[in-house]
């Protein structure tokens, strides 16, 4: 198969925005599994979040069984934009939704995973999407990407907050069925996990195709495509060296202060475009208002 078998990416911004706006709760019953004072909320609101998303996908695709599941079962090729929008809506619900909404969303995903089973054509190994090891892989890639991209392009976390973030996020993996004791709960544990899993990773043809598509999605508006180049470069810059080698990407030039600024500006413009989509500003303000009032309560308590 070639990348030509993918549907184009027109409407990426619009559909992601619609999914985002709909997923941020209007009248949550509680603060959810993280809450407005959490590091997780800050990382989700970070300017670099789109880079984190793209970097997660780049890493996640390097596990042959995870990639095979997506390639053989999801609507990824026929509706890549819809797939991405649904994934980000899920993350938003788990992060900002109340506990009941987050739990329901996770149960829906687990139900879908029940049917995602097969054999990876490259390694010949059987896989199941509900396999805790695969779920953990996807989780770890996401958490690691939040840390890496906010450090490089967003607001870096302190070491303590980075540990807190990894620990807070364990609940996200648990919701999908990963036993608590398997889940790294500190930066050091996360690093050890990646060291241990490295031998299972490789770039399969499906991964190469998928990621070529994502790095240069056809059908974007000309202005969005221009901005996407920066998002893509940022994601590759933020990859660990082993991932760059597996993909065979040219070693990216070192990140200068000027280039970092340029990338941040591209993220800012993209964010302005995103905010311009219907409902996004309101959703963003709902979150900011909750974070602000939580901050005020904390300040009043001390």
């Amino acid at each position: 198969m070639t990348t030509g078998s993918y549907a184009d990416a027109a409407g990426l911004v619009e559909r992601s925005a619609a999914a985002y706006a709909a997923a941020v709760p209007v009248t949550p019953q509680d603060d959810g599994f993280f809450g407005p004072g959490s590091v997780t909320w800050r990382v989700s609101m970070d300017l670099a979040a789109p880079v984190a998303g793209l970097r997660s996908l780049l890493i996640q695709a390097l596990h042959p069984l995870a990639m095979a599941g997506v390639d053989q079962h999801s609507d990824w090729r026929t509706d890549p934009v819809g797939r991405l929008a649904a994934t980000s809506a899920y993350e938003v619900t788990v992060t900002f939704g109340d506990r009941a909404s987050a739990t329901r969303a996770a149960q829906r995903v687990r139900a879908v995973h029940e049917h995602v089973r097969g054999v990876d054509p490259v390694t010949g190994q059987p896989y199941a999407a509900g396999d805790p090891a695969l779920l953990l892989w996807v989780h770890a890639a996401l958490v690691d990407s939040g840390l890496a991209t906010s450090a490089l392009f967003g607001t870096p976390l302190t070491a303590a907050d980075a540990d807190r973030y990894v620990a807070e996020m364990t609940i996200a993996a648990e919701l999908l069925g990963v036993p608590h004791e398997m889940i790294p709960d500190s930066v050091a544990a996360l690093d050890r996990y990646f060291d241990g899993v490295r031998a299972d990773l490789r770039r399969t043809p499906a991964a190469g195709e998928s990621m070529s598509y994502l790095l240069d999605p056809p059908g974007l508006d000309v202005d969005i495509a221009e901005l996407w180049q920066d998002i893509r470069d940022a994601a590759v810059l933020a990859l660990p060296g082993w991932a760059v080698q597996m993909y065979g990407y040219a070693e990216p030039p070192p990140l200068t202060a000027e280039r970092r600024t340029e990338i941040r500006q591209a993220l800012g413009v993209l964010d302005a475009v995103f905010l311009g989509e219907p409902g996004v500003l309101e959703a963003r303000q709902r979150i900011i208002a909750r974070m602000r009032s939580a901050g005020k309560k904390r300040a009043d308590a001390t």
């Binding site: 920066d230 500006q265 993220l267 800012g268 413009v269 302005a272 311009g276 409902g279 208002a289 602000r292």
Partner: protein
């Protein structure tokens, strides 16, 4: 080479007219390939319109839907610290807002909806909290607002482009409007304009013919000027002094001791907004239009200054044609050498009926390449539209169609003249006469004998008053002449 000259002229013109006229997604006036190139070149600004416009429209919905929690929510979202300002307006958002604001001055080609939303762009940024505004006042004036002023209203009355306006009463009893700049916004915008790699790329890929660096330099200069309120205060003070005692033109006086880089304090003005004026009788609208017209050309020929911000939001109206002019953030001062060829062009074309003289004046001004292989009558024919309202005596009604025709002609790249015509940088701002004044008067459907009024103002005619307002103005001028012998108006430098 010719094409390049034109492209540069067009590019710089575009930037200065609207920072990036480029913004206008659907311009119907531009023919052929040039149009394509320009439209694509607008990518960065189209993003501003896209982002900014919808950002603006969606903001009030939140507050509406929040019902009784509205005020609480507004308080929660208020900018509390300089860090909040940076988070809200940093990484290009402040720059995009500025671009959107500049683009909103451009009438031609923007749909009414886009105009409406762009003009509301600034409403989308939450106000500063009373504490943050007070902090800026304290930093700038050396004491908190309740000591710097006799009375201070902590609730802002209006949003400014990069700040907000508070009402206050000075300690000697003057009712004033105090414009307070967001802390950190100047540094944030300057930082973003200090690294133009992204903007350059977005312009360059789509507009390879244009001198992108000249565009960016112009943009940076304009925006940087507007970030320093002291400049605005000096400008406004000059205009206020020049028009002191004028029967219909009002410019709020400045309180210099309460003006700094981030604070500008001026007399509190009030009046109806442009939207209200549109509901007034045609006679009132004509009078308001006459005042605006006199203001623009008296300023140019008399004060040798032009307010490059002819934006309906900057005018307040009262009956009898009285207009208060606000916001002098973008003023261009002309030297005698810069003004002379402009005056000569008008004189040769409209008074002396001397086409060859007109052509020479165009060449002297740098508008027309010397020795261009074009017959003079073709040049006159091309340029005449700009002078259409003042070539002959008689009552004429301004229309939106006329304003559009003027703008289209400015951007007419298909004309055989296009390769030989350019707009030198010092005159670029004058396009706002076309884009601002004519569009505004067109919207008012204003009727007057514009030629006759122009003759009053033209320094080479100085004709007798031809309207009641002209008579009143003549009285002001007589008094002014005697005053000026005592006190020459100070023209602030750059």
């Amino acid at each position: 080479m010719r094409a390049r000259r034109l492209a540069i002229a067009a590019g710089v013109g575009a930037v200065s007219v609207a920072a990036l006229t480029l913004l206008r997604g659907r311009r119907n006036g531009l023919p052929g390939t040039r149009r394509l190139r320009l439209e694509r070149g607008l990518a960065a600004v189209r993003l501003a319109a896209r982002g900014g416009a919808r950002y603006a429209t969606s903001a009030p919905r939140l507050f509406a839907s929040a019902g009784e929690h509205r005020q609480a929510l507004r308080n929660d979202l208020a900018l509390q610290t300089a860090e909040d300002v940076t988070a809200t307006l940093g990484t290009m958002k402040g720059v995009l807002m500025k671009l959107g604001q500049m683009a909103s001055y451009v009438d031609d080609g923007l749909s009414p909806a886009a105009r409406r939303t762009l003009s509301r762009l600034q409403d989308s940024v939450p106000p500063m909290s009373p504490e943050l505004a007070a902090q800026v006042i304290t930093e700038e004036l050396g004491q908190p607002p309740d000591q710097a002023f006799a009375t201070w209203d902590p609730e802002p009355i209006a949003a400014a482009s990069i700040g907000q306006v508070h009402r206050a009463i000075t300690r000697d009893g003057r009712a004033v409007a105090v414009k307070v700049q967001y802390p950190g916004i100047a540094e944030t915008i300057e930082a973003d304009l200090g690294n133009v790699a992204l903007l350059r790329r977005m312009l360059k890929i789509t507009a390879p013919m244009q001198d992108v660096d000249a565009l960016l330099a112009e943009l940076r200069e304009r925006v940087t000027e507007e970030l320093d309120y002291r400049r605005e205060a000096r400008n406004q003070q000059m205009f206020a002094r020049y028009y002191a005692g004028h029967p219909t033109i009002g410019v709020p006086g400045i309180v210099p001791e309460l003006c700094t880089r981030r604070v500008v304090t001026s007399d509190l003005a009030d009046g109806a907004r442009f939207a209200d004026l549109l509901t007034w009788s045609q006679a009132e609208r004509d009078l308001a239009a006459e005042t605006i017209y006199r203001f623009v050309f008296r300023s140019l020929y008399g004060a040798q200054a032009f307010n490059g911000d002819p934006h309906p939001g900057n005018y307040l109206f009262r009956p009898g044609g009285r207009v208060t002019f606000l916001d002098f953030g973008l003023v261009k001062y002309f030297t005698g050498d810069e003004l002379r060829p402009l005056v000569a062009m008008v004189k040769h074309l409209c008074v002396d009926n001397d086409p060859e003289g007109f052509r020479r004046a165009m060449e002297d001004a740098g508008f027309l390449m010397r020795g261009a292989p074009l017959p003079t009558d073709m040049i006159v024919e091309h340029m005449a539209v700009f002078y259409d309202t003042v070539r002959e005596r008689g009552s004429r009604t301004m229309t939106g169609a006329y304003a559009s025709a003027v703008t289209r002609r400015f951007f007419d790249f298909r004309s055989p003249l296009a390769a030989y015509v350019q707009i030198p940088r010092s005159y670029v701002i004058l396009q706002r006469i076309n884009l601002g004044l004519f569009a505004l008067l067109g919207e008012l459907s204003a009727t007057a004998d514009w030629r006759c009024i122009a003759e009053e103002i033209w320094p080479f005619v100085q004709g007798p008053p031809c309207t009641p307002m002209g008579v009143a103005e003549a009285g002001w001028r007589a008094g002014k002449l005697s005053r000026d012998q005592v006190e020459r108006p100070q023209v602030p430098g750059r």
